[in-house]
Amino acid sequence: MISAPDVVAFTKEEEYEEEPYNEPALPEEYSVPLFPFASQGANPWSKLSGAKFSRDFILISEFSEQVGPQPLLTIPNDTKVFGTFDLNYFSLRIMSVDYQASFVGHPPGSAYPKLNFVEDSKVVLGDSKEGAFAYVHHLTLYDLEARGFVRPFCMAYISADQHKIMQQFQELSAEFSKASECLKTGNRKAFAGELEKKLKDLDYTRTVLHTETEIQKKANDKGFYSSQAIEKANELASVEKSIIEHQDLLKQIRSYPHRKLKGSPLCSGETEHTQDQASQAATTSNPDESADPDLYTCRPAYTPKLIKAKSTKCFDKKLKTLEELCDTEYFTQTLAQLSHIEHMFRGDLCYLLTSQIDRELLKQQHITNFLFEDFAEVDDRVAEKEESAPPRPVPGRPPSRSLEECPIPQVLISVGSYKSSVESVPIKMEQELGDEYREAEVTEVSSFDPQENLDFLDTDMKGSISSGESIEVLGTEKSTPVLPKSDSQTSLTVPLSPQVVRSKAVSHRTISEDSIEVLSTCPSEALIPDDFKASYPSAINEEESYADDSEGAIHFQASVSPPELGEAEEGSLENPLSQIDSSCCIGKESDSLRVPLSTPAHTPSERDGVVSIPPQRCMQKDQGFHVDFAVENASPSRDNSSEGFPADELDPNRLLASRDASKTSLDNCSDTTSNMSSVASTSSDRTPSSAHPTGPSSERHKKRAGQNALKFIRQYPFAHPAIYSLLSGRTLVVLGEDEAIVRKLVTALSIFVPSHSRFAKPVKHWVSSPLHIMDFQKWKLIGLQRVASPAGAGTLHALSRYSRYTSVLDLDNKALRCPLYRGTLVPRLADHRTQIKRGSTYYLHVQSMLTQLCSKAFLYAFCHHLHLPAHDKETKEVVASRQASFLKLNLGLVNEDVKVVQYLAELLKLHYTQEAPGTSHPTLRFDYVPSFLYKI
């Protein structure tokens, strides 16, 4: 038998979190050879060890009209992250799969250039050579000085884990859409401002020319015009035309519906208000860069310039930076969003999936989850999910439900409408780009070793790998054929109607090259929530009907292109965006599409809610592959703890502030409320999304708390009655002289404290004044300072006066005074002989136990006959005995465990019946039970 003090001795290893881990001296014959990559800090399960970058990052690239595709920035902006990964090359790759029908120019039948408010395209692409897979989000920004007024950009989430990209596609798409929307909003604003300026210039030029012409007219009244005069008149005419054109452009950009703006979660109405203030502040600091606070109006301070008649576009001219294009405020906001995305998708896929499942389940437990869940962290994520993600079918419902949602006939309609948008693709505009792009590509492609690719590809993907080239487009969002949902994979081989095939091929116009295969596409709007969609005016959104039918799901399709096809079409590379090329590959594409799809990339069933993912699927996918479940990566906070926060935020001032706030709160393990408030105060004033550094920090918080709780359980033989006190709502006062120790223990024990509302745990980490009756009503766990001086007597006197409401844990004397506990629940929850070693694991253990407890409390609270008589004749005694027997027999509770469930049930009742939950403190409930003194 190991007694408690022995256990204490063995628990010293728990310190390794804080101290460098010391290798236990093992005899030679027992030691295992070290993992070769161990020196790089990688774990043996990490897939990342094969890739050239250490972890996922976000890359923003531009297709510059001067130098071609080029990387602009990465998030995190740390060379350590992408390491030797060739950003230039990858930029080229990702920019080469832009399907956007982005176009500004003179469409046939229109006198003036026309702005097209194109939707972003979303593509998944893999580069097996580099071991990189990316979600690529293309967007177009307007620039008056750019060719065709457009500047193509893309944001890519690059990961070494293909499954991560594929399975998180929906989430990634939703998050990136927000970022893109933000950029575009800022860009529209800046563009409008620029147009205004240009118009003033033109106006001024016209006036000047006009007066000059008049002077000339007066100068020679011979009745005929000199060549000079004619030239001037021509010039004037062209200026006039230019004015009309620009006015038209301005009208167009202004006509961009506001409602659409409002729909965007990131740049919604309220942010715009704050934007205005913020940008006003910015105007004072750097008046040149920031645009006018008043959207789309030009600053009166602008002095117009004379525009030369032959204002040619010169290539040596410096193009605007992304920041200039988008208005600094929006730019920083976008960066914040992107670093939020980076935080959000950090870590291993299985971790992400688990936490998603977790959130899904939490949502179902909306009645009980306030009790023990840490909403400080979960909340904003969940909230985001709720507004951004399309409604998912409730897990557990039959999958047929989603079938009903996506009736097949609608596909045809939507395809038709899509076609119309495709047909407006200009040919001329992109000619040069194509050439440049091609040159770059060919040189790069030649260096590929096709054999290597196989190693990095999934068994499912084998069909597409055979293309022998390194980039596979695994999915885009346009032109998805809606496949019926079914668990059987054969159902994916639904024959597509010729019409579908045709339009699909059209959308594939750029992907038929040797190295690129589009495995599937789907409309960009598929990921936009319904309510958002509804506000899209149809004039702008040709794909509207599209979005509807693919509601709630993206349907990936298996890779289809046979290898020869890709090579045969090398020639079409010349004009990647041309219609001719796309039409010429129709036949081939459709051929390939008619091939029954036997190896789908994904079974669509995973779309109907994360929860319904059958576990064996993961196993299957990972056969002969690296093991996915990298333990180290499971907690995304790890890299934080080891290297601190990387310099991944580009606006250091703001984000540093919030990081500091969360850091300091971490260090002293301060109470949740102050933690929340400090973060909120630093970051919420401008961008709610940048409050996200709390996410990982609270993860670390949990870990620490779990660890210290574990330590407490092992150190103190009377941990059980103490935990029972917390669970049964009796305030536990932790008394001690050392603030740090008390705070640490209070933080640790707070994981056992049921909350009264979603907002904050009733925990007070440190008090030095005498306690008051109000404190016991408000707080259920209090850290109290013991003062040796006579002044401290008041504190102790108050404590002894209210001793009936409290349990007192005296850290200095290692003593506990509290009621007796003889139940079985707490021993399971807090077993001092537990095998659990890690704090985070223990935390999860506690959470799961407490969730079980919550469900018991829920059952108890919501069984009608347990509380109210079944019929009029029943007496109170009958009901009471039924209650008792239910608690004992049905819920299996013994002795004091009953009180825990009863207390939780009371909290549930209060929470449910309150009009505005969390507004008031519940009553202080107590029992007149004798207390006992425990000492070590």
Binding site: L735, H772, I773, M774, Q777, P790, A793, G794, L796, H797, A798, L799, S800, R801, Y802, S803, R804, V808, D810, N813, A815, R817, A861, F862, H864, H867, L868, Q902, E906, K909, L910, Y912, T913, T923, L924, R925, F926, D927, Y928, V929, P930, S931, L933
Partner: protein, 459 residues
């Protein structure tokens, strides 16, 4: 109790002092109050509580505000601001007959020498009178005559519309401390050591004026009269600062019984120390009375005494019911007595006959006071003396409520909602029966479920 905490150092006084106070410990099986709700709205001593109806009460105190509360939920319903100084009296006022709506009215008076009539449903000031020469210390409503009286340095008679009908001449500088109504249109006023009986003369055919006449002065008390209550139809009772209790005939104002020193320590019963303690006049002043059909319960100093009206003697007592003066007591229907004290605690007592006591285990605190042998002796003596059975009883402590950190000024008992206490620590605490509250919450829960249509009853 928590001596281990203090760890042998200086012990706080409350703990160190060996007091004869009866204690009960933490296990109180008969104490029904297992839930409390702290109500915070006042920012000075809360002195008065008055019940408005089945579920509302009003509180008032030194901060001059009156707060109306929901006794069930503890919700603050209204805050009545109008007085600039501390409130000295608070009384419910019968609705004006002329008034259509039957709103609950209260009358408050304050050290700022005003009286305000409030509507407790709207929070509106109905009327305000501010023509007083002195602070009004007590108020009384004579519903039969549709008038109300205010007592300060003089006694004024008002009608329901707050018109002054008549007033007495200046009575004393200390003013009237208590006022009760007795039959024959008379009121008794306690002014210092004196009791003055006034008769109201209602307007008749001869004279249209109201009049108030001094009928008699009763000078039997040796010291200031602190408490004055109507006990039943035939008598009222007064108590003074030096522990005299006199029961008066309500009709001819004669002394029916007088207990002047029955709670003085008898030398053969108590130790020297206790004599010393109890002889401080403060310790025997009578602060409050309550009564039922047969008994008058008196809060005398720190103790509680039960005086039987038939036997005309004390049948039970607790000399040291509290650590400090008892300020307010009330009798509950179930033979229970509740007392609150300056020591910040509220205690619940049960009046038991002593024969039962012998069979029950006696709490230790009891022995400290009486000594075991003496109890029997003392108990047997009266039985021998008085043949008419009815053995003396004892007050058994069945629970205490600890919550306030300062003197508990007053409390209010609601049959359905529990107990409300107010204190000098600015708080009001609502003490509730936890079991009943739990049931009520369940009821509310299922009502809400039913409203939402989420209630499925198994067949």
């Amino acid at each position: 109790m928590l001596r281990w905490l203090i760890g042998g150092g200086r012990e706080p006084q409350g703990l160190a002092e060996k007091s004869p106070l009866q204690t009960i410990g933490e296990e109180q099986t008969q104490n029904p109050y297992t839930e409390l709700l702290v109500l915070k709205a006042h920012h000075d001593i809360v002195r008065f509580l008055v019940q408005l109806d089945e579920y509302r009460f009003a509180s008032a105190g030194d901060d001059g505000i009156v707060v109306v509360w929901n006794a069930q939920t503890g919700e603050k319903l209204l805050e009545l601001n109008g007085h600039s100084q501390k409130i000295t009296a608070l009384i419910t006022f019968p609705s004006l007959e002329a008034c259509e709506e039957k709103n609950q009215l209260i009358l408050t008076t304050s050290a700022d020498r005003t009286v305000i009539l409030w509507d407790c449903d709207t929070g509106r000031q109905v009327r305000k009178v501010s023509c007083f020469q002195s602070t009004v210390k007590c108020l009384i409503v004579l519903q039969r005559l549709n008038v109300w009286l205010s007592g300060g340095n003089d006694l004024c008679v008002w009608n329901q519309k707050l018109d002054l009908l008549c007033k007495t001449s200046h009575l004393s500088d200390t003013g009237i401390s208590a006022l009760i109504e007795i039959p024959k249109n008379c009121v008794v006023a306690a002014v210092g050591k004196e009791l003055i009986i006034f008769r109201l003369v209602a307007p008749t055919e001869e004279s249209l004026e109201w009049n108030i006449l001094e009928i008699k002065r009763l000078l039997d008390h040796q010291d200031n009269i602190l408490s004055l209550v109507n006990v039943n139809d035939v008598s009222f009772v007064t108590g003074s600062h030096v522990g005299e209790m006199i029961i008066w005939d309500i009709l001819d104002w004669t002394v029916q019984a007088c207990e002047c020193n029955f709670w003085d320590p008898s030398p053969q019963l108590d130790t020297q120390q206790e004599i010393k303690l109890c002889q401080k006049p403060n310790d025997i002043s009578i602060h409050h009375f309550t009564w039922d059909e047969e008994n008058v319960f008196a809060a005398v100093g720190r103790g509680l005494y039960v005086y039987n009206l038939h036997m005309k003697r004390v049948i039970a007592c607790q000399k040291c019911a509290h650590d400090s003066n008892v300020l307010h007591i009330a009798k509950l229907p179930n033979r229970q007595l509740i007392s609150c004290s300056e020591d910040g605690s509220v205690r619940i007592w049960e009046l038991r006959e002593k024969q039962q006591l012998a069979a029950e285990p006696v709490p230790t605190g009891f022995f400290n006071m009486w000594g075991f042998g003496r109890v029997n002796k003392q108990a047997s003596q009266p039985v021998k003396k008085q043949q008419e059975n009815a053995p003396p009883c004892s007050l058994e402590l069945i629970g205490d409520l600890i919550g306030h950190s300062s003197s508990v000024e007053m409390f209010l008992y609601f049959e359905d909602h529990g107990l409300v206490t107010c204190s000098a620590d600015h708080l009001i605490i609502l003490w509730k029966n936890g079991e009943r509250e739990s049931g009520l919450r369940s009821l509310k829960l299922f009502q809400k479920l039913e409203e939402n249509g989420d209630l499925y009853l198994a067949v």
